[in-house]
Symmetry: C2
Subunit: 326 residues, 2 copies
């Protein structure tokens, strides 16, 4: 484990424990099969990054309420709901090193359990009694479903631009990070400028996090990532490393990359050759630079907050987005 990861985990140990308890408690009274399927995705070693962001932002704004961990479950439920539906949409087979829910059970069970987790998240949002929070949560779900549809509609489309890619990852990832941070500030009844600062932190962190994720798909292997490298490409998803390299490469190299995109059953050797081209035409370096730029923007957004342990952890989490290996 990296030093940075160890430092973050030490700082948030109690919060993570409270979040784990709340996640299980909030499911408990429900029908067996629902709890079982929801548990399969919820308790498979997720990082709990999204609920943690909410808790840390609430604390940074001086909140010390009792229900923080319970409200934070909203963001893990929403996340798990989208994973359940997305794995089905993407026809994935592995998630976090385990077979996906729609293969362990079946498609209908995965769809309906996703619906249930979505509804559970929204019920919990209603429990905050804060209309703005409820708006944020409902907006997250709208954005995420639209982002996924948009991504699906553009599968394998070589003309996807960087701007369109950014809009996709904003919808599918950044809105949830942003929403978690914003909700933390709102629960703490923070002043508008603090709410906006933490919202900006979450937005930039979300973009950086997704870019790093998209990079990992080209640079990591199964044992670390819990799924096979090249999965995005096999699903026809064009991400920034490839989009940028395509825009820079001469015709011959572009044709070679295009041929691979249109051939989802490519070999490991073909995939390695593609990764080589991505490096060669700057796709990897450009994506790393963009991710670093968003990490810097995230950190700069919270610079104005007075010295506080939560601020330091949020800074560390931003740095960690770039160095994580899974």
């Amino acid at each position: 484990m990296s030093d940075l990861k160890a430092k973050i985990l030490t700082a948030v140990r109690d919060d993570l424990e409270a979040i784990e308890i709340a996640l299980a408690d909030n499911l408990n009274p429900h029908f067996d099969l629902v709890s079982q399927v929801a548990g399969h995705i919820l308790f498979a070693g997720g990082k709990r990054l999204r609920p943690l962001l909410m808790v840390l932002c609430a604390r940074l704004c001086g909140h010390s309420g009792n229900h923080t961990a319970r409200f934070a479950t909203i963001f893990e439920y929403l996340h798990a709901a989208t994973l359940l539906h997305d794995d089905l949409v993407d026809d994935a087979d592995m998630r976090r090193g385990r077979p996906v829910a729609h293969l362990v059970w079946d498609n209908p069970t995965a769809v309906l359990t996703g619906d249930f987790l979505l509804a559970r998240g929204l019920s919990t949002a209603a429990d905050t009694g804060l209309c703005e929070v409820i708006h944020v949560i409902a907006g997250i779900t709208e954005n995420m479903s639209q982002g996924e549809i948009r991504q699906m509609a553009r599968k394998g489309d070589l003309s996807l631009s960087e701007a369109e890619y950014l809009e996709v990852i904003r919808c599918k990832t950044a809105v949830l990070f942003e929403g978690a941070c914003r909700t933390g500030a709102l629960i703490a009844a923070a002043k508008t400028e603090r709410v906006e600062a933490l919202t900006a932190y979450g937005y930039h962190l979300g973009l950086a996090f997704q870019m790093a994720d998209d990079l990992l798909d080209y640079t990591q292997d199964l044992t670390v990532l819990g799924k096979r490298a090249g999965a995005d490409l096999r699903e026809g998803k064009l991400t920034l490393p490839l989009i940028y390299a395509l825009s820079q490469a001469p015709a011959a190299d572009r044709d070679q990359m295009a041929a691979l995109i249109e051939k989802p059953d490519f070999s490991d050797a073909e995939f390695a050759a593609l990764v080589e081209l991505l490096h060669h035409h700057g796709g990897i370096a450009y994506t790393q630079a963009q991710a670093a730029r968003h990490v810097a923007a995230a950190k700069s957004a919270i610079e104005g907050f007075a010295g506080h342990a939560a601020r330091e952890t949020l800074m560390d989490i931003a740095d960690y987005a770039l160095v994580r290996k899974a």
Copy 2:
């Protein structure tokens, strides 16, 4: 068209028009494919019964706000979202006389558009600014997904009891009717006893409506219903006519019915023989009587409301639940 239906339609003509406009307006700014898929299910000749119930209950409680039709869309969006997911869960091929969305497009598109409509409904609920309304809406979605999972888990299970059937139809139908009526009263800031009375009306109407629907599956044909009779049985769904008949029939007849349940590709003649048995062992008559009991309970719940056109229409709708042919 029956006289009763004509009378209801005349009474609610302006409301239906306002609801149609609001349904389209509320979708308009959204991504093309989403609007198209959502429109496929939303604008295929639905009865708009759920939004209409909200509007009528709000009016009965003296509400005359501007946003009534927009808030009413919540209940049609939620309904359409569940239809999209349920058709997929049930592997249905026709809905309202048209091919289902997951066949016109594909499974992922149907899943994600359902998610979007769910989120759109919850966003609109948040716009009411009433936390109790938001709770009601989130609770509806939780109940509906759990009800569907429960129904799915018990497919083809001959031991399903009447009480379990009631719990399934409460979750999958009555909570939405109940929620629409309750929301109408809440938006009108009605007194608690009026809120509860209209909630009871919606609950009983929903149960009666679903029982009538379950009866239609045994008594109507494709041209009227927009889908093939016997569809529930083909999907392994045991409903009250069958549950009751099974409980009353001697062993030989029970075995004959059980054999058909386990054979989803039954012929029209076999199905006709089953319907005959349902009649013979009182399943049809018992279900009609139960539906009538709930219609009476629904009407009795709103008897105390002073004479008002909306009350008369709600009474007519309750009566119509029993006589409708599709």
